[in-house]
Symmetry: none
Subunit: 232 residues, 2 copies
């Protein structure tokens, strides 16, 4: 997944910065613009592999932008960003082709996962596998299924996202703040105690099925998903 180019289109500077830094850190090559006209220009010159497109833009809406892009022969898949309450009647037509959509507010881990899922489906570039296996745990990201030593484990959406984040950073201590920032929606306003709660939920479900505890507590620092092999 080397050198995947992402074009971000959003008029809110906060979101733009958040996405830019986060995706750049995730290894993507990022270019960000604030409106539809710039998006069309940037897409023409930059040949992005995927486009993150806010549906509500100051100059034109997301659909006009995609229409324009398609008519120019630019077929990069689009991940639409929409506000939670506009989904009702605006959803139609959004997931055509390899496209997908996410509601704001989203979580950073989730958006990286979605981008990888789309790239995987459209196969335009080399990307990560749908199966994420570290140590005794295996996640099938297409099916949203989790297995511990072959046994199927039932996780709630948040439990699933937390485990995926931990597993994609094995043998590295993650602070509760980092976890909160990546797994929870960016406008989450609660306490970090919730991370403790969810780690506890995960342990209760996973530890009975594994030979040793998987999530280690680094007191005063954070949590770490331990796996013997595969440090990469």
């Amino acid at each position: 997944m080397e050198n995947v180019k992402v074009l971000i289109v959003d008029d809110e500077p906060n979101i733009r910065d958040l996405l830019s830094t986060s995706l750049r850190f995730a290894g993507f090559s990022v270019h960000a613009v604030a409106n539809g006209a710039d998006a069309v220009n940037a897409a023409e010159k930059g040949a992005p592999d995927i486009i993150l497109l806010d549906v509500m833009l100051p100059d034109m809406n997301g659909f006009s932008v995609t229409k324009k892009l398609r008519s120019m022969g630019i077929n990069a898949p689009v991940l639409f960003l929409t506000a939670r309450d506009e989904t009702a009647d605006k959803v139609t037509g959004l997931t055509v082709g390899g496209d997908d959509y996410m509601t704001k507010p989203f979580s950073l881990d989730e958006i990286v996962a979605r981008i990888n899922a789309i790239l995987r489906r459209t196969k335009q570039v080399e990307t990560e596998d749908s199966i994420l296996e570290v140590g005794e745990i295996k996640i099938n990201q297409d099916a949203h299924e989790v297995f511990a030593n072959g046994e199927s484990v039932d996780l709630s959406p948040t439990e699933y996202k937390l485990l995926r984040f931990l597993m994609s950073n094995p043998n590295r201590v993650l602070t509760k703040a980092q976890i909160l920032d990546h797994v929870w929606e960016y406008d989450f306003n609660g306490e970090m105690g919730i991370v403790e709660s969810y780690v506890s939920y995960l342990r209760k479900k996973l530890d009975p099925l594994t030979t040793e505890p998987l999530i280690q507590t680094k007191r005063g620092v954070g949590y770490m998903y331990k796996s013997v092999k595969n440090a990469s």
Copy 2:
């Protein structure tokens, strides 16, 4: 079904884009034009395997276009696109040989199914099988018949399309938005609750005939058609 060439002829840019991206994603090689004259040119040069032809075009109607094509020795089957209210006789005269017609608005899953059916009938290229069998359910797409462990099941048109879409994406979670976009007509403007209703209908008809529930609910994500084998 490698490298099947589809020529799309429609003067509405929306429809053209929708079909282009959708069919391209479905694995077809697509070329789209806006009027009859261009269609004749493109067909001559591109040698398409099938032509999607809007009956009402600005310069000439679909009938003239096909006549012209046939006189030039181009015998690719035609799938006519007509508005719902155009009379049936007008259309029936058009469909000779392997041709067929669909009324607008259509659903994306349906049009892919029709294209495959036509290619299957005309046998000009390698294409998908008429029988779709996943797990305990078997669908005969030519006859629109559904069997659960050999027992015949009676489904309404929408139930049938929903099941076919789920079965053609086994072991992958599909969001309600994706289902809506593929199974329902492209101008559908209702709520996603209708997907829940139809999943409920399907389960009521299918579950009594199978050893285990086939359509799994992934709470907060979507639905998944489960089949034991093929975990990859």
